[in-house]
Amino acid sequence: YQRRVHGIKNMNEGERIYTELKSSKVKQNAMKSWRPSNTPYQNFVLFLTFGILFLAIGFLYVISSATITTVITNYSGNSTEIRVPIQIKTRMNPPIYLYYSITGLHQNYRRFAVSKNAEQLSGKKLKTRSEAKSCYPVFTEAERMEYANAGNEIANPCGLAPKYMFNDEINLQNGIGQEVPIDRNNLIFPSEKGKYLESPNSWVNTSTGQFATWMKISPVAPIKKLYGKINIPLEGEYIFLIQNSYHKIVHAYGGQRSIILSTGTFLGGAQYFLGTTFIVAAALLLVFAVAYKYC
């Protein structure tokens, strides 16, 4: 740039400035650029490529989803232990995922979702209501237990979200009374570990995957959360043995509980919706591709 200005020093001032302006590609907005052309043929290729790609992905999702077997078991009642026999007709190959599902609870209700204390959950001890402000309306043990004599110290953890935690214990026995092992590790992603640490004097073990899973707010109203994994194949008669601790709570808000056993693929659960969406999108793209080609 300096050299360029230097080279035109002899010209008179007006011409010099003009040349200086004129030769600046940036100042004249004449930077090197390209214009994407948008010919029907290019569009045809573009739409065709994505159409075929989406069609393939869509079918992959649909076909892989078709291999998934799911067994849903509802249960209710007020006895301390519930036994629910189930029949698995098609053989389920591991890994088999065990979910619990609850209807009637809006975890994603704003008042519910925000009612917890992040500082407390990362290990700080709270003493006053004002410290635990975000836990409104459940601050104290008495409020958590709904029992006046339970004491007025701040519940650990406080808030609506922990208070309504699902606490049924689910076990599975096969037809001859043998325990089917349920793997309760890895309920959260490795990258999410460390959010909830173990806290002394807490009414629930906050470091478990089960607590972390509960505290992850479900996006929609019937909640479905991972309870554990079964690493052996299942087929035939089985019995669920459930320690019914959650009955009182779920009864209060009129919810329904169920247990879901499901196999999976490397893509997770059944992705019929996603697969169908891909196929519909692909169909539209292909229609337009044809239109670009022949219209």
């Binding site: 007006g14 400035i17 948008n38 569009n43 479900s218 996006p219 109203a221 808000y253």
Partner: protein
């Protein structure tokens, strides 16, 4: 009168703030573009929509609580507490929803637009084509928030002198007898001591200086005509330190006398006895000046009566062709040849004068002179009497030739005006000049052509004016040609403005006329005219351009004011929104910068609303799943950075650098301007289409994500994703689409467009990563899953590709439909179109700028 006075006492009155210009000037108003005003209207509508959404959602939230008492028991509303009561909860929901939807009115738009306009203004001032190399001045932008207005201009009001013309007259052509000389392309080298002549004809110079034997007749005629020019005028000679200079009341005469000097008849001056001294071939010749019959606008001619050295008495008369032709002797020759010369010159826009003479016998003269002296001494009605007497002698003339003078135009005025007209902009010239002069200039700057049909409104009584307006309106409706031009006199305009009926008729009339020339208008009237158009065509954008202090009112009255920084001082430039040095710069300003600024700023405004509609829609739709509890989908931090960091720079780059057409294309195809002028870039439909795109795309993202992710594992971990991951997945897609949409909208891709778009996306991922490493954040540890998960990746691909391609299809479909309707329209128009009347109008170009009474020392007997 004061010519030979040693010194005088003087008082300066009406100076400074009391001067006419200052008293007439109006206060400058702050200007706002139409686009901005329209945006404000949309903001009000959006605000109403925002309130309605909030109200509906708050009520829905209340009803949900009432309908599902069991389900809502989990939230432990304590009815005894004031803050948990139903009405309080509803109010809280309402305010939460207001906060959720507050982004629908993007505050960032103001800042974005300001930055964009500021940089656009810098680019206007950097434009090399608008740089004045002689004055070393760059164009300056005083009001950059009118950039987008430049591309919507549909009325231009222009001053004449100093804006269109240089106020320099050049002698160009002449007819001697039946022969005419000079070309319009002449480019004469400057001669010492001779100004205002640009005459090139080797043939004539040869006849004049070195005639062949056979050309002697022509030579005599040429010499005589040259002598004529040196005698017939009212110029004075001033001598200052030995240098003689002409003091002319009329620039036309100055050009003629200079031409005579060039043809070796130099006017030296007048001696004490009233003799005119002409220097011819280095000899002084004396001509006795007997009478001067002055020029005025009704006579349209002037004559001198001189006694030649050979004692003959000659009357030399120059004036308007029609006036001279009426007074020619039947035996006068060359009539047809001179007439055709006059027509040619008139169509070219040259100012023409016809020259005629006659010989008077001593006897006749003496008799006439007595009547003249009597008339000149009359106490009452002297002027009228002189006119009557002059009429007696100015007859039976013999035509000897004609002259053509060019009122020099500024550089490239003709091309610029032609282009402006082709772009469908209505062009008004507002001038203080007389009708003839104005028409003349209109011809020379291609505002009028010989195909134009002129309508003149110059009545002095209200009935006349009304009649003329109505007649003109009726004729225009019938004629169906688009080459109409209206010539309006200042007096007629004053009358029209006073009577509302005439004003209304005039307003209806001017809407149909592409070219209007308003003559004899004062500076206040200039502003009134602009205001008249503004008030009656609310949708039209007006632009005023002028150079002098008398244009200031007009400049501040129009939507856009352009000042010409020139010889006439700085007032106009200071009052203007854009200051340039030449009229021709308007072409660059309007058709390159203005047109593109209009398009890009419209895009910027729409985009800023669009991206926020895209952002807010999923949040609103989530009300369907969260019992309208105003639960937000997005991470607080990222949400706050959306408008400041994740979507800002690419749109600024687009708004400054994108080019739909290259400059050469824009400056050669006036049709490209029409789109902006007609408001196709920004209107209610355009704006709400963008909003609808935003909402629709937000809806697509929201539902596709919700139905894929909720209660369904998307990896072999078998873990279902939570609300905040889903929310942030939606947010990531919103950021991607908001940015990639700009990439898809660019007509020209530069390094910057790609760099800033992908850079902005990268910045988003960086912030996302940083925030996701904090355990206190609700999106803790979710960063890697956005990328390293086939389901999430394919869903992103699906949505980004579908949404971008959907816009391609919609836009092309729209273009197809528009093209289809246009073709139908054109076909209909073609059927209707009548055969245009191609009758050429013959025009001669008489114009002469002089007022009577400027030089009493020549014309009044008392001074002799």
């Amino acid at each position: 009168v004061l010519k030979n006075t040693e010194y005088i006492y003087g008082i300066a009155t009406y100076t400074g703030a009391e001067s006419k210009i200052q008293m007439n000037s109006s206060n400058a108003k702050t200007k706002r573009s139409i686009m901005e005003a329209l945006t404000h209207k949309q903001i009000i509508i959006i605000f109403v929509i925002q309130l309605s959404i909030s109200l509906v959602c708050a009520l829905a939230g209340l009803f949900w609580l009432l309908i599902y008492p069991e389900a809502s028991s989990v939230f432990e509303f304590n009815e005894d507490k004031m803050t948990d009561s139903k009405w309080y909860v509803t109010l809280k929901l309402f305010s939460s929803w207001l906060l959720m939807t507050v982004q629908l009115v993007p505050l960032s738009l103001l800042i974005t637009l300001e930055v964009v306009r500021y940089i656009q203004a810098m680019y206007i001032s950097w434009d090399a084509e608008m740089y004045d190399q002689k004055l070393l001045i760059q164009p300056s932008v005083q009001t950059s928030n009118l950039n987008e207005e430049l591309g919507r201009v549909s009325y231009i009001f222009s001053d004449k002198t100093g804006t269109l013309t240089c106020n320099i007259m050049d002698f160009r052509k002449m007819a001697v007898g039946k022969k005419s000389y000079g070309t319009s392309k002449a480019n004469m080298a400057p001669q010492l001591g001779i100004s205002n002549v640009n005459f090139e004809s080797q043939e004539f110079m040869k006849i004049l200086r070195h005639p062949d034997e056979k050309d002697m007749k022509k030579h005599r005629k040429a010499v005589h005509l040259s002598l004529f020019l040196s005698l017939c005028h009212t110029i004075l000679v001033e001598e200052n330190k030995g240098v003689r200079s002409f003091n002319a009341a009329s620039p036309d005469e100055l050009a003629l006398v200079n031409a005579a000097k060039y043809f070796s008849h130099e006017f030296v001056g007048r001696d004490e006895d009233g003799n005119i001294i002409i220097k011819h071939n280095d000899k002084d010749e004396k001509y006795e000046l007997l009478n001067v019959l002055e020029f005025n606008s009704t006579r349209k001619r002037m004559s001198v009566i001189v006694r030649m050295p050979d004692k003959r008495i000659l009357l030399l008369c120059k004036g308007a062709d029609n006036v001279i032709y009426q007074r020619l002797n039947g035996a006068s020759k060359y009539k047809a040849e001179v007439q055709s010369f006059l027509c040619d010159c008139g169509n070219e826009g040259l100012r023409t004068l016809a020259l005629a003479e006659k010989e008077i016998s001593e006897e006749n003269y003496r008799e006439w002179n007595q009547r003249f002296i009597a008339a000149a001494r009359a106490v009452n009605g002297r002027e009228k009497k002189i006119e009557e007497v002059a009429e007696l002698i100015e007859k039976d003339l013999l035509l000897i030739g004609a002259t053509a003078i060019e009122d020099k135009l500024q550089d490239q005025v003709g091309e610029t005006i032609d282009f402006i007209k082709q772009a469908g902009i209505k062009f008004w010239v507002l001038t203080g000049d007389k009708i003839e002069t104005a028409i003349n200039i209109a011809f020379s700057c291609k505002l009028l052509t010989d195909l134009s049909i002129k309508y003149i409104i110059d009545g002095v009584e209200s009935e006349d004016v009304f009649e003329q307006v109505k007649k003109c309106d009726a004729e225009i409706k019938e004629s169906m040609t688009d080459k109409n031009a209206l010539i309006l006199s200042g007096d007629a305009l004053t009358i029209a403005m006073k009577h509302s009926a005439i004003t209304q008729a005039l307003v209806n009339l001017i809407k149909q006329i592409p070219v209007v020339i308003a003559c004899r208008v004062s500076q206040k009237q200039k502003a009134d005219i602009v205001q008249l158009v503004r008030n009656n065509y609310k949708e039209a954008v007006t632009l005023s351009i002028g150079d002098g202090a008398n244009d200031v009112n007009m400049i501040s009255a129009a939507h856009v004011g352009i000042g010409i920084r020139g010889l006439e001082g700085q007032q106009a430039a200071r009052a203007s929104d854009y200051a340039v040095t030449q009229f021709k710069h308007m072409k660059n300003l309007l058709f390159a910068h203005g047109r593109e600024s209009t398009r890009r700023n419209a895009y910027t405004i729409c985009y800023c609303f669009y991206k926020n509609a895209l952002l807010v829609t999923p949040n609103i739709l989530f009300a369907l799943y969260s019992a309208a509890s105003a639960q937000a989908l997005y991470n607080e931090w990222l949400y706050q950075l959306y408008n400041t960091a994740f979507t800002t720079v690419p749109i600024v780059w687009y708004a400054v650098f994108d080019k739909e057409y290259e400059r050469e294309e824009l400056l050669s195809q006036p049709k490209h301007f029409e789109e902006g002028r007609k408001g196709t870039y920004f209107s209610y439909p355009v704006f709400w289409r963008w909003m609808a795109y935003g909402a629709l795309q937000g809806l697509m993202i929201h539902f596709a994500t919700l139905y894929t992710l909720s209660n369904n594992a998307s990896s072999s971990y078998g873990i279902n994703e939570d609300l905040y991951f889903m929310g942030n997945f939606v947010f990531t897609l919103v950021v991607l689409i908001a940015n990639l949409k700009i990439l898809a909208s660019h007509y020209t891709h530069t390094w910057g467009s790609s760099f800033f778009i992908f850079g902005t996306i990268a910045v988003y991922y960086l912030f996302y990563y940083l925030i996701s490493t904090s355990t206190s954040q609700n999106i803790y540890g979710s960063f890697s899953r956005i990328f390293l998960n086939p389901v999430h990746l394919s869903l992103q691909l699906l949505l980004v590709v579908s949404i971008l391609l959907m816009e391609v299809v919609i836009n092309q479909g729209k273009t197809l439909i528009v093209r289809y309707y246009k073709s139908i329209k054109i076909a209909i128009l073609k059927q209707k179109e009548p055969k245009t009347d191609l009758r050429r109008q013959t025009t001669t170009g008489f114009a002469f700028s002089q007022e009577p009474g400027h030089t009493p020392q020549i014309t009044t007997q008392d001074f002799k």
